[in-house]
Symmetry: C2
Subunit: 329 residues, 2 copies
DNA sequence: CATCGTTGTTCCAACGATGTAAAGACCCGA
DNA sequence: TCGGGTCTTTACATCGTTGGAACAACGATG
């Protein structure tokens, strides 16, 4: 691998002059510039990022801390974050926590100014004390705890309310919710939106109809739906806090010969690509994932230069995509 | 951020002694070792990886070059590669190519010994000439071209043959295939397995029943299935070269009121998590993704130390998971 | 022609870590 | 007491890059 030194020798100039050319410094004699450029071309020089960053005090990386890539929402988001980060010549380092406290603590501990310039976090179990960060960070989703970190995300209360209002508009009276979670901020907000929508339609809130979930995997949705169908009076609709839970719930409904949307309307959350192709296709709250990714990366980019700016709370748009799981074809 | 110098000053020893303690060098006096360890603890020292790697000539990163993270197979694989890489203290850099030649070329060009120690590649369009790599690499899938790079993957011919034999054993006579691709090595192999299975059962091969696909997205599977159902004599089974195509195909079948598996048996490939929950659930060839990820990382780890060893071709196991899309419940 | 400001280039130090060589401490037996 | 080996520590150079100061060349100015 060619270094600046090699290029300098070949071009017959000093190392610094080559560095100046590489970095677009203006005051280089046209003749020298040409010779250097030829030498760069000839050697196929590529800067050693480690050395450059060591010198510059930057690493060129940002961390993306998320539960797991096998969850479609996070996989899609990760792809968009990588694309957004490219604009700032940032590489993305993905850390999986598997939603555990230990995993999240380990991920945070491994971060530091020597490894990454900034971090995007999607925590699920972290407590206040854990947020001892040494690099600028932004939280995706909702604050479960009161920590001074900027946030990017949709208005989860409004989004949940929109989803449940839709179910109510279809005439559903017993609307269940799957996905309550002790620590997850988004879960609390979505539950709040759910209650608000019930309240404004004067529908009773029944804790029987609220089923918790820990990992938001399909299997949990399936299990939750079983317990709901076993109720004395099963629900006529279910609002799931993510699409995977909804897919699991629909699976159980199919196994029990409960017709969706005839007997049971189902709404999910996240709008995974898979949800447009399920049978029936899934009505879902669709956050603008691209906007989230861009906003998060952009915020961090500003924050790296000005770490002491006021915290930000960026609200990104969402929409409700109505599909077959709530409306008969 | 504390450096070795800070720790050394605090412990009252030289920088090198601290370095020796950090790196587990044996000959350090117990007394000094204790003082250094206390100082490490007190300062919360974490090595600057950039500097360490600059000195060691390693980067601590491997690249994972894949089409896109929003494709579940690659998302699941990426998660497993990250986990496998952790064992060797490697961080994983994910590069998305979106399956385009330009994207793949750009990804390869960006790799180099200054950025990564090695690379895992899942190319789809690259030609022979493009494989000018400056770091050890391993190919996932199949060689589409004749390049001297190690490979990890399943026996795609045998896997496809197994899948189609299964359809034949169900009594299917007109078995279609979706996913033929001009450049993709796996596609060629799977097509070969498909033809072999037909041949051994003395079933005719008809090119009408082979539909190409470029990106292996759900939409393509849906479109391909439409064209198959429009045939004068539609197929009674379809073997899709990945699960997304199969999901799309089943979607079309549902829209056309073609019953799966009654009128049409469907087999996919990859065994995405989603496929166990679709309606009907999808019979799929299940490669051992964990084994692939571990084998690839392991191979690279050996290759970094011994770059000139003979090429390897690691074959990982697969199985056929029979589900509702081929067998009536 | 001395002085000046602008341009262009080079030299040197530094980022934080580690390998090398050499020096210092220590213990043993002769 | 001395030589010789084994531990233990240190000073120094180095990885590839860039910032800053110093310096050199230049035409323009008085």
């Amino acid at each position: 691998m060619a270094t600046l030194k090699d290029v300098a020798r070949l071009a017959g100039v000093s190392v610094k002059t080559v560095s100046n050319v590489v970095n677009g410094y203006s005051f280089v004699k046209p003749d020298n510039r040409r010779r250097v450029e030829e030498a760069l071309e000839a050697t196929g020089y590529r800067p050693n990022l480690g050395a450059r960053n060591l010198r510059r005090g930057r690493t060129g990386f940002i961390a993306l801390v998320l539960p797991e890539l096998s969850i479609p929402y996070f996989a899609e988001l990760a792809g968009l974050v990588i694309a957004a980060a490219q604009e700032f010549e940032w590489n993305v380092l993905i850390e999986q926590t598997f939603g555990t406290l230990a995993g999240e603590r380990a991920a945070l501990a491994s971060l530091g100014p020597h490894l990454v310039d900034a971090a995007i976090l999607s925590p699920e179990a972290l407590q206040d004390d854990d947020f001892q960060l040494s690099v600028p960070a932004v939280l995706l989703g909702e604050h479960a705890v009161d920590v001074p970190i900027s946030r990017v995300g949709i208005d989860n209360v409004a989004a949940a309310q929109t989803a449940v209002r839709h179910l109510i508009s279809l005439g559903c009276k017993r609307i269940a919710a799957i996905g309550a979670h002790p620590h997850r901020g988004t879960a609390a907000q979505r539950l709040e939106g759910y209650r608000a929508a019930l309240a404004e339609a004067s529908l009773p809130f029944s804790s029987d109809l609220v089923v918790p979930a820990l990992n938001y995997h399909r299997a949990e949705g399936a299990a939750a739906m079983k317990s709901l169908l076993d109720l004395e009076t099963p629900p006529d609709a279910v609002f799931c806090f993510n699409d995977l839970l909804a897919i699991g719930a629909m699976r159980t409904a199919a196994e029990r010969s409960v017709s969706v949307p005839g007997d049971l309307a189902v709404v999910g959350f996240d709008n995974n690509e898979e949800s447009a192709y399920s049978a029936p296709s899934l009505t879902s709250v669709a956050p603008d994932k691209g906007a989230i990714a861009r906003a998060a990366v952009d915020l961090l980019h500003r924050r790296v230069d000005a770490p002491d700016d006021a915290l930000e709370d960026v609200e990104t748009p969402f929409s409700l995509l109505v599909r077959e799981s709530t409306v008969v074809r």
